[in-house]
Amino acid sequence: MPSHGPKYGRPDASGPGRKGSTRIWSDPPTNAPASVARGGARRNGLVYEGGNQRDWNAGMKERNTTSLLNRILVNCSSQAKLYGSCVAAKVPEVERDMCLKEFLALKSCMQRTLQRKAELRPGIIIFSRLNSEEPIDVCIPGSRGLFYDDGNKIILSPANDQVYSWKVVPFDPAAAPISDSISDGPILAIRFSLDGKLIAIQRSNHEIQFQHRETGETFSHTCKSESENILGYFWTDCPLCDIVFVKTSGLDLFAYNSDSKTLQLVETRKLNVSWYVYTHESRLVLLASGMQCKTFTGFQLSSVGMIRLPKFEMAMAKTEANNKPVLAAEDVYIVTVYGRIYCLQVDRVAMLLHSYRFYRDAVVQQGSLSIYSSKVAISVVDNVLLVHQVDAKVVILYDIFLDSRAPISAPLPLLLRGFPRSSSLGARSSFKDGESSEVASYPSDHEATMYGDDWTFLVPDLICDVSSKLLWKIHLDLEAIAASSSEVSSVLDFLQRRKLEAYKAKHLCLAMARTAILERRPVTMVAKAIDVLVTSYSNSFKTGYFKGTKAEKAQSSGAAYATIHGTSVNASRSDTTGKSVEREYVSGLDGESFERPTFSETDSDEDGNTGYVKPNSNGGSSKLLLGAETRRTGGQTSLHSENVGASNNILRSTLQPEALVTSPAISPDEMYTYVFAPVEEEMAGDPSYLVAVIVEFLRGCNLERIKVRPNIYALTAQLLARNERYAELGLFIINKILEPSKEVALQLLESGRHNRQTRKLGLDMLRQLSLHNEYVVFLVQDGYYLEALRYVKKHKVTTMRPSMFLEAAFASSDSQHLAAVLRFFSDNIPGFRSSPDHNTYYHLLNEMNMVAA
């Protein structure tokens, strides 16, 4: 998502629009350095986090006593506000169904609150479905502005003769800025080259200055003609060129010659450009032209070359006949979701957000989303589209994977987490390099500045709070989103597509599956949910998340995880994303060339994300830390205990370390270990419900051709036998719903202690599996020693102990049988006649005969 530089910056004289530029905020150059030194106090996020936890708990106790109405009002304040403002706007013209949307949102929120009164999580006071992470402090004394370089993912802040840069990936609030000295002068935009060797600074509408970072050498590039302005520029990894200038007259592509330290013009595309939008993520530049600025030409400068997209127009509703609105740069966003590139356009008149999807040779309008705020902003987190309704201070989430236009949940507000509050700061202060030691006099009203006017939204998931100079990263609170919907299957579907926090999503899925079963939700509903999980596993398998184990699809996926490590994770991931997306281009569109750059970028994104963690500056809060930390230390696994809820204690010790989980897909084995087995333990009474659920699971697995391990079968057999539903158990076995295996056979023999028919089924299964030894042993146990001997002879089982048969024959006190057994072994085992067994039983046989006589 591009930033809207000009909106928050000083009035820009450089042209009609500068969408692609990366300025977030900048002071007028003449301003005296505004020193708002807030020091490192802000970096005490972890301390704060801990303190916050306690606050939450206290809050919960309190809340339990507050009235329901109160809670509704607290919880649904945003919906209430939306509805209120909507009604207020329309009064006095009252009509039927007016503000229906808002009303429904409010109503559902209220209902949800009522339903969940008992399970309100402490601390998440309002709807904290979205959590911003702790911010990065980008405050530098004397700063003259903030710029975001999305190519390198850095925040730049020039001050005096220095430019400070913070890496935002991995997002680390404790990151110290790197400084480069630059020459003084006006700065309109600043970007590092992709290899990090050059700094390009736009000095004016006609001049861009380049500086070599190591040597400090500079050279400038100026426009030849006075009639054209430079709107902006960006570095590219396209093989054609290194940097692209966007000018009012078109695109100039330059290659950088490192020897001569000059730019060489490679190609020029002549076009009238009013303004442009570019994101490095998509490698796509959209050039707006025309009276209304709604005609677009797009170029993608990917690593395979430059592709020109067909010209297209965006839809704009008219207010009045003669009043044609002009599309502004800040109303157009390029977003990358699931490897697809979309363009979102705000139609302020129609209050709609139109979406367009880019194919190689086509741009297809995909439908529109309603917006409820005159000002919106777009973020993308983990392929979820976030539409910030800035006026209403809420976010609406969309998962456009299935082309569904329905929001995932009700509108949600943001919750700032790790926000340094002056009260919790105490005297702690650790400072950034060389910063002043003034302890933060932190403006206390900051807590209230949600969606302040000076918030700038950066691609794809960053928010820069210009006034306080904090950079926030948006983070989805999956748990809260999951809790906000009662439709389990759709939530699971959503969670299964989350890759960023695969571990958490997986745990949530498991917990939800367990809960749904324990609560005995209708079988059809649970079946639907299970289908989602099975299908997702099957898909992730097909796309190769479980690489390296393809050959042994049926094997434990635990092993699969173990084979994937560290960086190879990312390699295989991006790779597979590529594949999966290519498949979408069945309609003859060349997905590869078009999409690849996105992926390579996604790559680096994910690199960062996997490593992205809260810093472990003080070890006290290690509970919350994972990721890179964990990986470095190897086997240390500390899990998000609070994520998974109370019923998950069992899991902690056993599930793989978080860092190794790359996909929320759940293998059949995990279903057994973390869903069926624990549920079976907890579930009292009639197990037929659980059997029904397992049958649905088996059905799903069968449809997807996923092999199930015998332990689930054995469990099913056990459940049926416990309920004395032997007839059904027989059916399950005969129809091979429970596939034959040694485990199942032994379970049948065990369950068959009270049911002869079932025991026989177990025996038959052993025989059919050619488990001769076991079969014979059980036969003898049941007293069929003669039959066992015949079987031994036929199948040449050589490992049997004669004494076992002799004992059984003796126990039956049938001298003829004993004699027969003795004879059998004498004939078939050489040397048996001289063995002690023979002697003992020969003697016993004689005694028996004596008695009989």
Partner: protein
């Protein structure tokens, strides 16, 4: 009406039910008799038949209190005994007629007695409990009479009762015939079963699923499965329904029993009970007229919503409002509502405990609605799947073999299709009938000898027409086989069995 003609034409067969605990005093002997067929026989004859039976039972009990008399083989008659409930005996007396078809297998006849009693239990509860409720036994008698006569009407063949004879040797009563389904279909079926069960909202509800006349799935106990299956095949399956509608059809295939002429049999209830009550001279009044007749023909039909409907069960005597049928489960002794849904060849029967349905018919209607809502799609799917895998009438024919396979543990049987069995010569069938008789005796002996330990048994006999008649009993499974025009060596016969066993029985008969 058919009944009287049956009576007049069947001197060859008598069937009676009597209670040893009743009529102990001089002059009250008639009280013992609960049922006698033919009903128009003079009481003196009835009493002499029952007196003989009672005497034999009393006598044999001296030696074997557990199991008294099983059969009397007289010169001209066979008396087959069955103690249906403690001290309530059923006896069937058949004439030994050298001519043609009158050659019976005792166990086959006893199975008929068992079957009719089990069905009666299912619909009315035990005779003993009915007697306890009504010591005068008037309505018990009428219930028994109506029920058994309805049952026997299935054996009517050209106005003559045709009890199972040697021709039915490759058939086993009181077993269930199952459809063989693949794993995928089986899972779908189970999924359907579970969904329907969850719709009924009761944990002790049960279901039975049939495809054509074959069982696909059951959640009932084995005994209840047999009873309900038998009833379903007699009256509920698509074939049974259409048999009622078009009894004249030439296309109807199947056993002699189910092809019994049903058209002209039953008249009104009054004419049915006339001979009985007339002869008894009791003033039973009208208590019989509302006796439920679940085995009556042509009373089931398919409703518009796919559920089978009947007017057999009525809310009140004489009222026209019919209610949902209910049956008794043998195992749990629970009363269950019976609902049957039919889609093409699929018949889905589900049972809901009466106690769990709060507001009667309304509750049932709600459950039906739920089932339609949640499961009708699944039914379609299952039906489609099963039809695809269904091999037709002769699906279980194995060329060269005429066989009967009985799994005693699961009460299953599978046999060559009747059309194929009909190709066997009479000699082969007679030989088989005899062989089965032997095996029956051997089996019952083994049962008393050594409880729990199953003996293996293998008999091969050479019959006329170069036929091998083979029987093998292994660990609770029985296989009967007729191979006509077969090679004369015994090796050939045993090879044939081995092949069959490995191919169709998972090697159950080739253990050693």
């Amino acid at each position: 009406m058919g009944l009287s003609s049956v009576a007049s034409n069947s001197e060859g067969m008598q069937l009676c039910i009597f209670d040893l605990r009743r009529g102990q005093n001089e002059g009250q002997e008639l009280d013992k008799i609960l049922f006698f067929y033919p009903a128009d026989l003079p009481f003196s004859t009835q009493l002499s038949v029952i007196g003989l039976s009672e005497g034999l039972i009393t006598f044999t009990r001296i030696f074997s209190p557990e199991a008294a008399c099983e059969v009397i083989e007289a010169e001209r008659h066979s008396h087959v005994f069955f103690e249906a409930e403690p001290d309530i005996w059923m006896v069937v007396i058949v004439e030994k007629n050298k001519e043609a078809e009158a050659i019976w297998r005792v166990e086959g006849l006893r199975k008929v007695l068992k079957e009719v009693h089990s069905l009666f239990l299912m619909f009315h509860g035990s005779i003993r409990s009915l007697l306890e409720k009504e010591p005068a036994a008037g309505s018990v008698r009428s219930q028994l009479y109506i029920f058994i006569m309805d049952y026997l009407s299935d054996f009517l063949s050209s106005k003559k009762l045709q009890l199972p004879s040697f021709r039915d040797s490759l058939k086993e009563r009181a077993t269930v015939q199952m459809l063989t389904v693949g794993r995928e279909a089986a899972i779908e079926v189970q999924s359907l079963v579970r969904v329907v069960e969850s719709c009924t909202g009761s944990q002790s509800s049960h279901s039975l699923l049939l495809f054509q006349d074959l069982l696909v799935s059951t959640t009932l106990s084995p005994d209840d499965t047999i009873n309900l299956f038998t009833y379903a095949v007699l009256r509920l399956t698509p074939r049974a329904l259409s048999a009622g509608l078009s009894s004249w059809s030439y296309l109807r295939k199947g056993s002699a029993a189910s092809t019994a002429v049903t058209g002209p049999t039953m008249g009104s209830t009054t004419s049915l009970s006339e001979p009985f009550h007339g002869s008894r001279g009791t003033s039973a009044g009208d208590d019989h007229s509302h006796a439920v007749r679940p085995l009556q023909h042509d009373r089931w039909s398919k409703g518009r919503d796919g559920f089978l409907i009947t007017d057999i069960w009525q809310a009140e005597p004489g009222s026209l409002v019919s209610v949902t049928p209910s049956i008794w489960l043998q195992q749990t002794e629970e009363k269950m509502y019976l609902c049957a849904y039919q889609h093409k060849s699929l018949t889905f029967i589900f049972l809901i405990p009466v106690s769990s349905v709060i507001n009667g018919e309304q509750g049932i209607l709600a459950v039906k609605q739920l089932v339609l809502e949640h499961a009708s799609l699944k039914m379609l799917k299952v039906e489609e799947k099963l039809s695809k895998g269904w091999g037709g009438e002769n699906a279980y024919h194995v060329s060269g073999y005429r066989y009967l396979l009985v799994d005693g543990d699961r009460n299953l049987s599978r046999a060559s299709p009747p059309g194929k069995v009909a190709t066997l010569t009479k000699d082969s069938l007679l030989a088989l009938s005899k062989l089965r008789e032997e095996v029956d005796i051997e089996k019952s002996r083994a049962k008393w000898d050594n409880d729990g330990h199953e003996k293996d048994l293998e008999i091969c006999t050479r019959a006329r027409n170069n036929a091998w008649v083979i029987s093998q009993v292994t660990r609770g499974k029985e296989l009967y086989m007729v191979l006509e025009n077969a090679n004369e060596t015994l090796l050939y016969a045993s090879d044939a069995v081995q092949k069959f066993s490995n191919r169709y029985c998972n090697g159950a008969f080739s253990l050693d």
